[in-house]
Protein backbone atom coordinates (compact mmCIF):
# COMPACT_ATOMS: atom_id res chain seq x y z
CA UNK A 1 0.00 0.00 0.00
CA UNK A 2 1.23 3.50 -0.74
CA UNK A 3 0.12 7.07 -1.19
CA UNK A 4 -0.02 8.22 -4.81
CA UNK A 5 0.37 11.90 -5.75
CA UNK A 6 -0.50 13.21 -9.20
CA UNK A 7 1.88 16.02 -10.22
CA UNK A 8 1.25 18.47 -13.05
CA UNK A 9 3.95 20.00 -15.18
CA UNK A 10 4.25 23.47 -16.66
CA UNK A 11 7.02 24.32 -19.13
CA UNK A 12 8.89 21.17 -18.10
CA UNK A 13 8.89 22.03 -14.39
CA UNK A 14 6.49 20.85 -11.71
CA UNK A 15 3.77 23.31 -10.77
CA UNK A 16 4.04 24.92 -7.37
CA UNK A 17 0.60 23.57 -6.44
CA UNK A 18 1.79 20.06 -7.29
CA UNK A 19 4.86 20.48 -5.07
CA UNK A 20 2.42 21.34 -2.30
CA UNK A 21 0.41 18.21 -3.09
CA UNK A 22 3.60 16.12 -3.07
CA UNK A 23 4.60 17.52 0.34
CA UNK A 24 1.11 16.77 1.62
CA UNK A 25 1.15 13.25 0.19
CA UNK A 26 4.49 12.44 1.82
CA UNK A 27 3.18 13.59 5.18
CA UNK A 28 0.10 11.40 4.80
CA UNK A 29 2.37 8.47 3.87
CA UNK A 30 4.43 9.07 6.99
CA UNK A 31 1.28 9.16 9.08
CA UNK A 32 0.17 5.83 7.61
CA UNK A 33 3.60 4.25 7.88
CA UNK A 34 4.12 3.90 4.14
CA UNK A 35 5.84 5.65 1.23
CA UNK A 36 4.66 8.21 -1.31
CA UNK A 37 4.88 7.68 -5.06
CA UNK A 38 4.20 10.38 -7.63
CA UNK A 39 2.71 9.93 -11.06
CA UNK A 40 3.59 12.43 -13.79
CA UNK A 41 2.35 12.78 -17.32
CA UNK A 42 3.51 14.52 -20.47
CA UNK A 43 6.24 17.13 -20.80
CA UNK A 44 8.21 17.25 -17.56
CA UNK A 45 12.03 17.22 -17.27
CA UNK A 46 13.28 14.04 -15.63
CA UNK A 47 15.52 16.10 -13.33
CA UNK A 48 12.44 17.93 -12.08
CA UNK A 49 10.81 14.57 -11.37
CA UNK A 50 13.85 13.24 -9.48
CA UNK A 51 13.90 16.43 -7.43
CA UNK A 52 10.47 15.47 -6.00
CA UNK A 53 12.59 13.53 -3.49
CA UNK A 54 12.98 16.87 -1.76
CA UNK A 55 9.26 16.79 -1.05
CA UNK A 56 9.57 13.27 0.36
CA UNK A 57 8.53 11.34 -2.75
CA UNK A 58 10.44 8.07 -3.04
CA UNK A 59 9.41 7.00 -6.53
CA UNK A 60 8.00 8.70 -9.61
CA UNK A 61 6.07 6.85 -12.28
CA UNK A 62 6.36 8.75 -15.52
CA UNK A 63 4.30 8.29 -18.67
CA UNK A 64 6.01 10.28 -21.40
CA UNK A 65 3.43 9.55 -24.15
CA UNK A 66 3.49 12.84 -26.08
CA UNK A 67 -0.26 12.66 -26.69
CA UNK A 68 -0.55 13.43 -22.97
CA UNK A 69 1.09 16.84 -23.34
CA UNK A 70 -2.44 18.16 -23.64
CA UNK A 71 -5.00 17.49 -20.96
CA UNK A 72 -7.37 14.66 -21.95
CA UNK A 73 -9.39 13.54 -18.96
CA UNK A 74 -10.05 9.96 -20.06
CA UNK A 75 -6.43 9.27 -20.90
CA UNK A 76 -5.13 10.90 -17.71
CA UNK A 77 -7.57 8.85 -15.65
CA UNK A 78 -6.34 5.66 -17.26
CA UNK A 79 -2.69 6.44 -16.54
CA UNK A 80 -3.35 7.39 -12.92
CA UNK A 81 -5.60 4.38 -12.36
CA UNK A 82 -2.85 2.16 -13.71
CA UNK A 83 -0.31 3.73 -11.36
CA UNK A 84 -2.73 3.36 -8.45
CA UNK A 85 -3.21 -0.30 -9.23
CA UNK A 86 0.51 -0.94 -9.63
CA UNK A 87 1.27 0.76 -6.31
CA UNK A 88 -1.79 -0.60 -4.55
CA UNK A 89 -2.51 3.01 -3.58
CA UNK A 90 -5.23 3.56 -0.99
CA UNK A 91 -4.79 7.33 -0.79
CA UNK A 92 -4.56 9.47 -3.94
CA UNK A 93 -3.55 13.12 -3.68
CA UNK A 94 -4.14 15.88 -6.25
CA UNK A 95 -3.87 19.62 -6.32
CA UNK A 96 -7.31 21.25 -6.41
CA UNK A 97 -6.69 22.57 -9.92
CA UNK A 98 -9.05 22.38 -12.87
CA UNK A 99 -7.23 19.23 -13.94
CA UNK A 100 -6.91 17.73 -10.47
CA UNK A 101 -10.59 18.17 -9.60
CA UNK A 102 -11.77 16.85 -12.98
CA UNK A 103 -9.56 13.77 -12.87
CA UNK A 104 -10.20 13.15 -9.17
CA UNK A 105 -13.96 12.99 -9.74
CA UNK A 106 -13.63 10.43 -12.51
CA UNK A 107 -11.20 8.33 -10.50
CA UNK A 108 -13.55 8.36 -7.52
CA UNK A 109 -16.07 6.52 -9.68
CA UNK A 110 -13.57 4.25 -11.38
CA UNK A 111 -11.76 3.22 -8.18
CA UNK A 112 -14.91 3.32 -6.06
CA UNK A 113 -13.16 5.86 -3.84
CA UNK A 114 -14.34 8.64 -1.53
CA UNK A 115 -13.37 12.10 -2.78
CA UNK A 116 -12.81 15.34 -0.90
CA UNK A 117 -11.80 18.45 -2.87
CA UNK A 118 -10.60 21.81 -1.52
CA UNK A 119 -8.89 20.11 1.43
CA UNK A 120 -7.08 22.25 4.01
CA UNK A 121 -5.84 19.73 6.61
CA UNK A 122 -3.93 16.50 6.98
CA UNK A 123 -6.21 13.55 7.78
CA UNK A 124 -7.11 12.59 11.33
CA UNK A 125 -6.92 8.84 11.36
CA UNK A 126 -7.78 7.82 14.92
CA UNK A 127 -10.47 5.22 15.53
CA UNK A 128 -10.44 3.87 11.99
CA UNK A 129 -11.76 7.20 10.70
CA UNK A 130 -10.21 9.27 7.93
CA UNK A 131 -11.34 12.83 8.56
CA UNK A 132 -10.13 15.81 6.54
CA UNK A 133 -11.11 19.46 6.77
CA UNK A 134 -12.24 21.17 3.57
CA UNK A 135 -13.33 24.68 2.65
CA UNK A 136 -17.09 25.06 2.15
CA UNK A 137 -19.59 27.89 1.62
CA UNK A 138 -17.10 29.76 -0.56
CA UNK A 139 -14.52 30.39 2.11
CA UNK A 140 -17.05 31.25 4.81
CA UNK A 141 -16.62 27.95 6.67
CA UNK A 142 -14.80 24.65 6.96
CA UNK A 143 -16.31 21.19 7.18
CA UNK A 144 -14.84 18.00 8.60
CA UNK A 145 -15.56 15.05 6.34
CA UNK A 146 -15.05 11.39 7.05
CA UNK A 147 -14.07 9.54 3.90
CA UNK A 148 -15.54 6.06 3.98
CA UNK A 149 -14.31 3.01 2.11
CA UNK A 150 -11.08 1.54 0.95
CA UNK A 151 -9.76 4.27 -1.35
CA UNK A 152 -9.58 7.96 -0.41
CA UNK A 153 -8.99 10.72 -2.94
CA UNK A 154 -7.93 14.16 -1.78
CA UNK A 155 -7.56 17.37 -3.78
CA UNK A 156 -5.62 19.87 -1.66
CA UNK A 157 -6.40 23.55 -1.73
CA UNK A 158 -3.72 25.67 -3.36
CA UNK A 159 -1.33 27.59 -1.16
CA UNK A 160 -2.71 25.89 1.96
CA UNK A 161 0.35 23.69 2.58
CA UNK A 162 4.02 24.49 2.88
CA UNK A 163 6.35 22.92 0.36
CA UNK A 164 8.69 20.71 2.42
CA UNK A 165 12.36 20.69 1.40
CA UNK A 166 14.75 17.88 2.20
CA UNK A 167 17.64 19.13 0.11
CA UNK A 168 19.56 16.52 -1.85
CA UNK A 169 16.97 13.74 -1.64
CA UNK A 170 16.13 12.36 -5.06
CA UNK A 171 13.27 10.20 -6.18
CA UNK A 172 13.67 7.16 -8.39
CA UNK A 173 12.06 7.75 -11.79
CA UNK A 174 10.41 4.77 -13.48
CA UNK A 175 8.67 4.63 -16.83
CA UNK A 176 5.00 3.84 -16.86
CA UNK A 177 2.94 2.94 -19.88
CA UNK A 178 -0.82 2.71 -19.70
CA UNK A 179 -1.15 1.40 -23.27
CA UNK A 180 -3.52 4.09 -24.34
CA UNK A 181 -5.71 3.64 -27.39
CA UNK A 182 -7.10 6.25 -29.77
CA UNK A 183 -10.46 5.97 -28.04
CA UNK A 184 -8.89 7.42 -24.88
CA UNK A 185 -8.19 10.59 -26.87
CA UNK A 186 -11.66 10.97 -28.41
CA UNK A 187 -12.28 14.16 -26.43
CA UNK A 188 -8.77 15.53 -26.97
CA UNK A 189 -8.67 19.30 -27.42
CA UNK A 190 -8.50 20.54 -30.99
CA UNK A 191 -6.46 23.46 -29.85
CA UNK A 192 -4.81 24.77 -26.70
CA UNK A 193 -4.31 28.50 -26.36
CA UNK A 194 -2.13 29.74 -23.54
CA UNK A 195 -2.49 33.32 -22.36
CA UNK A 196 0.35 35.56 -23.15
CA UNK A 197 1.58 36.16 -19.62
CA UNK A 198 4.76 37.90 -20.79
CA UNK A 199 6.84 36.40 -18.05
CA UNK A 200 4.04 37.35 -15.68
CA UNK A 201 2.68 35.18 -12.92
CA UNK A 202 -0.19 32.72 -13.26
CA UNK A 203 -3.09 33.93 -11.12
CA UNK A 204 -3.99 30.52 -9.69
CA UNK A 205 -0.44 29.83 -8.59
CA UNK A 206 0.51 33.33 -7.42
CA UNK A 207 1.75 34.14 -3.93
CA UNK A 208 0.90 37.80 -4.40
CA UNK A 209 -2.11 39.15 -6.29
CA UNK A 210 -2.80 42.80 -7.15
CA UNK A 211 -6.43 43.31 -8.07
CA UNK A 212 -8.35 46.28 -9.44
CA UNK A 213 -12.02 47.24 -9.32
CA UNK A 214 -14.38 49.73 -10.86
CA UNK A 215 -12.75 52.44 -8.74
CA UNK A 216 -9.94 52.55 -11.30
CA UNK A 217 -12.40 54.14 -13.75
CA UNK A 218 -11.23 52.50 -16.99
CA UNK A 219 -8.83 50.10 -18.70
CA UNK A 220 -6.48 52.95 -19.57
CA UNK A 221 -5.55 53.17 -15.87
CA UNK A 222 -4.57 49.53 -15.50
CA UNK A 223 -0.88 50.38 -15.69
CA UNK A 224 -1.25 51.17 -11.97
CA UNK A 225 -2.23 47.57 -11.22
CA UNK A 226 0.27 46.13 -13.69
CA UNK A 227 3.22 48.20 -12.54
CA UNK A 228 2.61 47.41 -8.88
CA UNK A 229 2.21 43.72 -9.74
CA UNK A 230 5.43 43.74 -11.70
CA UNK A 231 7.35 45.45 -8.90
CA UNK A 232 6.09 42.83 -6.42
CA UNK A 233 6.30 39.78 -8.71
CA UNK A 234 2.54 39.44 -8.45
CA UNK A 235 -0.28 38.25 -10.70
CA UNK A 236 -3.09 40.64 -11.65
CA UNK A 237 -6.79 40.13 -11.03
CA UNK A 238 -10.01 42.15 -11.12
CA UNK A 239 -13.58 42.34 -9.85
CA UNK A 240 -16.51 40.99 -11.85
CA UNK A 241 -17.84 44.31 -13.19
CA UNK A 242 -14.38 45.07 -14.54
CA UNK A 243 -14.38 41.92 -16.66
CA UNK A 244 -18.07 42.37 -17.55
CA UNK A 245 -17.16 45.81 -18.91
CA UNK A 246 -14.32 44.18 -20.87
CA UNK A 247 -11.73 46.32 -19.18
CA UNK A 248 -9.95 43.06 -18.37
CA UNK A 249 -10.28 39.47 -19.62
CA UNK A 250 -12.70 37.11 -17.85
CA UNK A 251 -9.97 34.79 -16.68
CA UNK A 252 -8.80 37.53 -14.30
CA UNK A 253 -12.12 37.85 -12.50
CA UNK A 254 -12.03 36.60 -8.93
CA UNK A 255 -14.96 35.96 -6.61
CA UNK A 256 -18.00 33.81 -6.13
CA UNK A 257 -18.54 33.39 -9.86
CA UNK A 258 -14.90 33.70 -10.84
CA UNK A 259 -11.61 32.30 -9.72
CA UNK A 260 -10.90 31.58 -6.08
CA UNK A 261 -7.44 32.63 -4.97
CA UNK A 262 -5.65 32.19 -1.66
CA UNK A 263 -2.33 33.99 -2.02
CA UNK A 264 -0.11 35.13 0.85
CA UNK A 265 -0.94 38.72 -0.08
CA UNK A 266 -4.00 40.15 -1.86
CA UNK A 267 -3.99 43.87 -2.65
CA UNK A 268 -7.38 45.28 -3.62
CA UNK A 269 -7.45 48.67 -5.33
CA UNK A 270 -10.76 50.46 -5.87
CA UNK A 271 -12.82 47.38 -5.03
CA UNK A 272 -15.74 47.86 -2.64
CA UNK A 273 -15.56 44.39 -1.09
CA UNK A 274 -18.98 42.98 -1.94
CA UNK A 275 -19.65 39.65 -0.26
CA UNK A 276 -19.44 37.87 -3.65
CA UNK A 277 -16.01 39.33 -4.26
CA UNK A 278 -14.81 38.37 -0.77
CA UNK A 279 -15.92 34.78 -1.39
CA UNK A 280 -13.10 34.43 -3.89
CA UNK A 281 -10.34 36.04 -1.86
CA UNK A 282 -11.16 35.64 1.83
CA UNK A 283 -8.70 32.83 2.44
CA UNK A 284 -5.77 35.06 1.41
CA UNK A 285 -3.33 35.24 4.30
CA UNK A 286 -2.91 39.04 4.26
CA UNK A 287 -5.36 41.45 2.64
CA UNK A 288 -4.57 45.08 1.80
CA UNK A 289 -7.36 47.44 0.79
CA UNK A 290 -6.94 50.78 -0.94
CA UNK A 291 -10.19 52.67 -1.29
CA UNK A 292 -11.18 56.32 -1.15
CA UNK A 293 -14.32 55.52 0.83
CA UNK A 294 -13.58 54.85 4.53
CA UNK A 295 -16.93 53.03 4.75
CA UNK A 296 -16.08 50.52 2.01
CA UNK A 297 -17.01 47.06 3.36
CA UNK A 298 -13.67 45.61 2.24
CA UNK A 299 -11.88 47.31 5.15
CA UNK A 300 -13.69 44.92 7.53
CA UNK A 301 -11.94 41.98 5.87
CA UNK A 302 -8.56 43.70 5.58
CA UNK A 303 -5.33 43.46 7.53
CA UNK A 304 -3.93 46.74 6.20
CA UNK A 305 -5.86 49.62 4.74
CA UNK A 306 -5.29 52.97 3.10
CA UNK A 307 -8.15 55.42 2.73
CA UNK A 308 -7.19 57.47 -0.28
CA UNK A 309 -7.34 58.09 -3.99
CA UNK A 310 -5.81 55.17 -5.87
CA UNK A 311 -4.37 57.55 -8.45
CA UNK A 312 -2.28 59.21 -5.73
CA UNK A 313 -1.61 56.23 -3.45
CA UNK A 314 -0.65 53.52 -5.93
CA UNK A 315 2.24 55.42 -7.59
CA UNK A 316 3.77 55.80 -4.11
CA UNK A 317 3.43 52.07 -3.55
CA UNK A 318 5.02 51.31 -6.90
CA UNK A 319 7.94 53.56 -6.03
CA UNK A 320 8.40 51.92 -2.61
CA UNK A 321 8.06 48.42 -4.07
CA UNK A 322 10.65 49.14 -6.75
CA UNK A 323 13.03 50.35 -4.07
CA UNK A 324 12.84 47.04 -2.17
CA UNK A 325 15.93 44.93 -2.40
CA UNK A 326 14.91 41.52 -3.64
Amino acid sequence: MSVLVFVEGLNGEIKKSSLEAASYGSQVAQQLGTTATAVAIGEVHEEALARLGEQGISKVLYDADSRLNQFVADAYVKVIAKAAQQENAKVLVFSNSNIGAAVGAKLAVRLNGALATNVTSLPKTDGGQFVVTRGVFSGKAFADVNLAGDVKIIAVKKNAFEITQAAGNTAMVEKLSAELSDADFAAAPKETVMQDTEGGVLLQEAEIVVSGGRGLKGPENWHLVEDLAKALGAATACSKPVSDLDWRPHHEHVGQTGITVSPNLYIAIGISGAIQHLAGVNSSKVIVVINKDPEAPFFKAADYGIVGDAFEVVPKLIEAARALDK
Binding site: N98, L115, S138, T257
Partner: protein, 246 residues
Amino acid sequence: MKILVCISNVPDTTSKINFTADNKEFDKNGVQYVINPWDEYALTRAIELKEAKGGTVTVLNVGEADAEPNIRKALAIGADDAIRVNAKPVDAFFVAQQIAAVAKEGNYDMILMGKESIDYNGSQVHGMVGELLGIPSVVPAFKLDMLDDSTARLEREIEGGKEVVEVKLPFVASAQQPMSEPRIPNMRGIMTARTKPLAVKEPVGAEAKAEYVGYSKPEKKGGVKMIDPENAGELITLLRNEAKVL
Protein backbone atom coordinates in the same frame (compact mmCIF):
# COMPACT_ATOMS: atom_id res chain seq x y z
CA MET B 1 -32.14 18.00 -28.97
CA LYS B 2 -32.88 17.00 -25.39
CA ILE B 3 -30.93 18.95 -22.80
CA LEU B 4 -30.82 18.14 -19.10
CA VAL B 5 -29.75 21.00 -16.81
CA CYS B 6 -28.85 20.07 -13.24
CA ILE B 7 -29.39 22.72 -10.60
CA SER B 8 -28.48 22.75 -6.95
CA ASN B 9 -30.41 24.77 -4.42
CA VAL B 10 -28.01 26.91 -2.40
CA PRO B 11 -27.92 29.71 0.18
CA ASP B 12 -28.03 33.15 -1.47
CA THR B 13 -24.55 34.57 -2.08
CA THR B 14 -25.12 37.24 0.59
CA SER B 15 -26.10 34.73 3.32
CA LYS B 16 -24.43 34.73 6.69
CA ILE B 17 -23.30 31.16 7.27
CA ASN B 18 -24.09 29.72 10.71
CA PHE B 19 -24.18 26.27 12.24
CA THR B 20 -26.26 24.62 14.93
CA ALA B 21 -24.97 25.02 18.52
CA ASP B 22 -23.11 21.68 18.40
CA ASN B 23 -21.49 22.65 15.05
CA LYS B 24 -22.82 19.46 13.51
CA GLU B 25 -25.23 20.95 11.00
CA PHE B 26 -25.75 23.97 8.80
CA ASP B 27 -28.32 26.31 10.35
CA LYS B 28 -30.96 27.11 7.72
CA ASN B 29 -32.66 29.70 9.91
CA GLY B 30 -33.31 32.90 7.97
CA VAL B 31 -31.38 31.70 4.92
CA GLN B 32 -32.75 32.47 1.46
CA TYR B 33 -32.14 29.83 -1.19
CA VAL B 34 -31.35 30.52 -4.82
CA ILE B 35 -30.49 28.54 -7.95
CA ASN B 36 -26.74 27.94 -7.76
CA PRO B 37 -25.37 30.97 -9.70
CA TRP B 38 -23.10 28.86 -11.93
CA ASP B 39 -26.07 26.69 -12.91
CA GLU B 40 -27.82 29.76 -14.28
CA TYR B 41 -25.13 30.02 -16.96
CA ALA B 42 -25.87 26.42 -17.95
CA LEU B 43 -29.62 26.97 -17.88
CA THR B 44 -29.62 30.10 -20.03
CA ARG B 45 -27.23 28.57 -22.54
CA ALA B 46 -29.50 25.52 -22.79
CA ILE B 47 -32.50 27.76 -23.41
CA GLU B 48 -30.58 29.73 -26.06
CA LEU B 49 -29.65 26.50 -27.87
CA LYS B 50 -33.24 25.34 -27.74
CA GLU B 51 -34.45 28.68 -29.10
CA ALA B 52 -31.95 28.44 -31.95
CA LYS B 53 -32.23 24.75 -32.82
CA GLY B 54 -35.42 23.40 -31.24
CA GLY B 55 -35.63 20.69 -28.62
CA THR B 56 -36.43 20.60 -24.94
CA VAL B 57 -34.79 21.72 -21.72
CA THR B 58 -35.44 19.67 -18.60
CA VAL B 59 -34.24 20.87 -15.19
CA LEU B 60 -33.20 18.36 -12.59
CA ASN B 61 -32.65 18.80 -8.89
CA VAL B 62 -31.79 16.14 -6.39
CA GLY B 63 -33.30 17.49 -3.22
CA GLU B 64 -36.20 17.81 -0.89
CA ALA B 65 -39.50 19.64 -1.46
CA ASP B 66 -38.07 22.94 -0.20
CA ALA B 67 -36.12 23.21 -3.48
CA GLU B 68 -39.32 23.49 -5.51
CA PRO B 69 -39.58 27.30 -5.54
CA ASN B 70 -36.20 27.45 -7.28
CA ILE B 71 -37.12 24.61 -9.64
CA ARG B 72 -40.21 26.66 -10.58
CA LYS B 73 -37.96 29.65 -11.07
CA ALA B 74 -35.91 27.67 -13.59
CA LEU B 75 -39.15 26.82 -15.39
CA ALA B 76 -40.08 30.51 -15.36
CA ILE B 77 -36.71 31.37 -16.92
CA GLY B 78 -37.61 29.05 -19.79
CA ALA B 79 -37.08 25.34 -19.09
CA ASP B 80 -39.88 23.12 -20.40
CA ASP B 81 -40.25 20.64 -17.61
CA ALA B 82 -38.58 19.57 -14.39
CA ILE B 83 -37.67 16.53 -12.36
CA ARG B 84 -36.98 16.47 -8.66
CA VAL B 85 -35.40 13.35 -7.26
CA ASN B 86 -36.91 13.27 -3.82
CA ALA B 87 -33.93 12.70 -1.54
CA LYS B 88 -31.68 14.48 0.91
CA PRO B 89 -28.56 15.12 -1.19
CA VAL B 90 -26.02 14.00 1.37
CA ASP B 91 -22.91 13.96 -0.78
CA ALA B 92 -21.70 14.46 -4.33
CA PHE B 93 -21.38 10.76 -5.15
CA PHE B 94 -24.97 10.14 -4.09
CA VAL B 95 -26.16 13.11 -6.17
CA ALA B 96 -24.11 11.99 -9.19
CA GLN B 97 -25.66 8.53 -9.11
CA GLN B 98 -29.17 10.03 -9.06
CA ILE B 99 -28.36 12.35 -11.97
CA ALA B 100 -26.81 9.50 -13.96
CA ALA B 101 -29.93 7.35 -13.43
CA VAL B 102 -32.24 10.13 -14.67
CA ALA B 103 -29.94 10.90 -17.61
CA LYS B 104 -29.81 7.29 -18.68
CA GLU B 105 -33.55 6.83 -18.51
CA GLY B 106 -34.28 10.06 -20.41
CA ASN B 107 -31.63 9.61 -23.12
CA TYR B 108 -30.49 13.21 -23.02
CA ASP B 109 -28.14 14.58 -25.67
CA MET B 110 -26.45 17.01 -23.36
CA ILE B 111 -26.17 17.22 -19.60
CA LEU B 112 -25.25 20.68 -18.40
CA MET B 113 -24.23 21.69 -14.89
CA GLY B 114 -22.58 24.57 -13.11
CA LYS B 115 -18.86 24.70 -12.47
CA GLU B 116 -19.40 24.27 -8.76
CA SER B 117 -22.16 24.24 -6.17
CA ILE B 118 -21.45 27.32 -4.03
CA ASP B 119 -22.46 25.59 -0.79
CA TYR B 120 -20.19 22.54 -0.71
CA ASN B 121 -17.72 23.74 -3.40
CA GLY B 122 -17.08 20.21 -4.61
CA SER B 123 -16.61 20.73 -8.37
CA GLN B 124 -17.00 17.01 -8.87
CA VAL B 125 -20.57 15.98 -9.68
CA HIS B 126 -20.03 16.58 -13.44
CA GLY B 127 -16.92 14.42 -13.61
CA MET B 128 -18.64 11.65 -11.69
CA VAL B 129 -21.73 11.72 -13.91
CA GLY B 130 -19.61 11.59 -17.08
CA GLU B 131 -17.70 8.63 -15.71
CA LEU B 132 -20.86 6.84 -14.54
CA LEU B 133 -22.39 7.24 -18.00
CA GLY B 134 -19.16 6.57 -19.89
CA ILE B 135 -19.34 9.87 -21.81
CA PRO B 136 -16.95 12.85 -21.89
CA SER B 137 -17.24 15.59 -19.29
CA VAL B 138 -15.91 18.95 -20.42
CA VAL B 139 -15.19 21.10 -17.38
CA PRO B 140 -15.25 24.01 -16.76
CA ALA B 141 -16.55 25.33 -20.08
CA PHE B 142 -17.19 28.98 -20.84
CA LYS B 143 -18.37 28.62 -24.43
CA LEU B 144 -20.68 26.06 -25.99
CA ASP B 145 -21.93 25.90 -29.58
CA MET B 146 -23.31 23.21 -31.85
CA LEU B 147 -21.22 22.60 -34.98
CA ASP B 148 -23.82 20.29 -36.50
CA ASP B 149 -26.62 18.08 -35.19
CA SER B 150 -24.29 15.68 -33.46
CA THR B 151 -21.16 17.65 -32.55
CA ALA B 152 -20.59 20.43 -30.06
CA ARG B 153 -17.67 22.81 -29.81
CA LEU B 154 -16.70 23.91 -26.34
CA GLU B 155 -14.02 26.11 -24.87
CA ARG B 156 -12.85 25.15 -21.43
CA GLU B 157 -10.62 26.94 -19.01
CA ILE B 158 -7.29 25.52 -17.96
CA GLU B 159 -4.89 27.27 -15.62
CA GLY B 160 -3.16 29.86 -17.74
CA GLY B 161 -5.18 29.32 -20.91
CA LYS B 162 -8.02 27.61 -22.68
CA GLU B 163 -8.70 24.51 -24.70
CA VAL B 164 -11.03 24.09 -27.62
CA VAL B 165 -12.78 20.73 -27.57
CA GLU B 166 -15.12 19.14 -30.09
CA VAL B 167 -17.27 16.32 -28.77
CA LYS B 168 -20.03 14.12 -30.12
CA LEU B 169 -23.34 14.03 -28.31
CA PRO B 170 -24.05 12.94 -25.64
CA PHE B 171 -21.70 14.63 -23.22
CA VAL B 172 -21.56 16.37 -19.85
CA ALA B 173 -20.31 19.93 -19.47
CA SER B 174 -20.09 22.36 -16.59
CA ALA B 175 -20.65 26.04 -17.18
CA GLN B 176 -18.97 29.20 -16.04
CA GLN B 177 -18.92 32.81 -17.10
CA PRO B 178 -19.28 34.07 -19.80
CA MET B 179 -21.15 31.13 -21.32
CA SER B 180 -24.38 33.11 -21.31
CA GLU B 181 -26.10 36.08 -19.72
CA PRO B 182 -28.42 34.76 -16.97
CA ARG B 183 -32.05 35.85 -17.43
CA ILE B 184 -34.55 37.19 -14.97
CA PRO B 185 -37.96 35.51 -15.29
CA ASN B 186 -40.64 37.76 -16.78
CA MET B 187 -44.31 37.84 -15.79
CA ARG B 188 -45.37 35.53 -18.60
CA GLY B 189 -42.66 33.05 -17.67
CA ILE B 190 -43.76 33.07 -14.05
CA MET B 191 -47.40 32.44 -15.05
CA THR B 192 -46.62 29.56 -17.43
CA ALA B 193 -44.15 28.00 -14.97
CA ARG B 194 -47.03 27.20 -12.64
CA THR B 195 -48.50 24.70 -15.07
CA LYS B 196 -45.29 23.22 -16.48
CA PRO B 197 -44.73 19.60 -15.45
CA LEU B 198 -42.59 18.96 -12.37
CA ALA B 199 -42.18 15.22 -11.86
CA VAL B 200 -41.12 13.90 -8.46
CA LYS B 201 -39.11 10.69 -8.64
CA GLU B 202 -37.93 8.45 -5.88
CA PRO B 203 -34.14 7.99 -5.68
CA VAL B 204 -32.32 4.93 -6.92
CA GLY B 205 -30.42 3.01 -4.28
CA ALA B 206 -27.02 4.66 -4.01
CA GLU B 207 -24.30 5.02 -1.45
CA ALA B 208 -22.73 8.15 -0.05
CA LYS B 209 -18.99 8.18 0.58
CA ALA B 210 -18.34 11.44 2.37
CA GLU B 211 -19.87 11.88 5.78
CA TYR B 212 -20.01 15.45 7.09
CA VAL B 213 -19.20 15.27 10.79
CA GLY B 214 -18.70 18.89 11.86
CA TYR B 215 -18.18 22.50 10.86
CA SER B 216 -16.07 25.45 11.90
CA LYS B 217 -15.57 29.04 10.82
CA PRO B 218 -12.33 30.80 9.90
CA GLU B 219 -10.60 32.71 12.66
CA LYS B 220 -11.65 36.34 12.84
CA LYS B 221 -9.13 38.83 11.51
CA GLY B 222 -7.32 40.85 14.12
CA GLY B 223 -8.65 44.13 12.75
CA VAL B 224 -7.32 46.46 10.12
CA LYS B 225 -4.21 48.61 10.53
CA MET B 226 -4.66 51.92 8.74
CA ILE B 227 -1.82 53.69 6.99
CA ASP B 228 -1.66 57.38 6.25
CA PRO B 229 -2.16 57.91 2.48
CA GLU B 230 0.48 60.65 2.49
CA ASN B 231 2.93 58.05 3.69
CA ALA B 232 1.66 55.17 1.57
CA GLY B 233 5.13 53.72 0.99
CA GLU B 234 5.14 52.74 4.66
CA LEU B 235 2.74 49.94 3.70
CA ILE B 236 5.44 48.19 1.69
CA THR B 237 7.79 48.31 4.69
CA LEU B 238 5.10 46.82 6.95
CA LEU B 239 4.33 44.07 4.47
CA ARG B 240 7.97 43.09 4.44
CA ASN B 241 8.93 43.50 8.10
CA GLU B 242 5.69 42.92 10.00
CA ALA B 243 3.47 40.72 7.81
CA LYS B 244 6.51 39.09 6.18
CA VAL B 245 4.80 38.53 2.88
CA LEU B 246 7.23 40.40 0.62
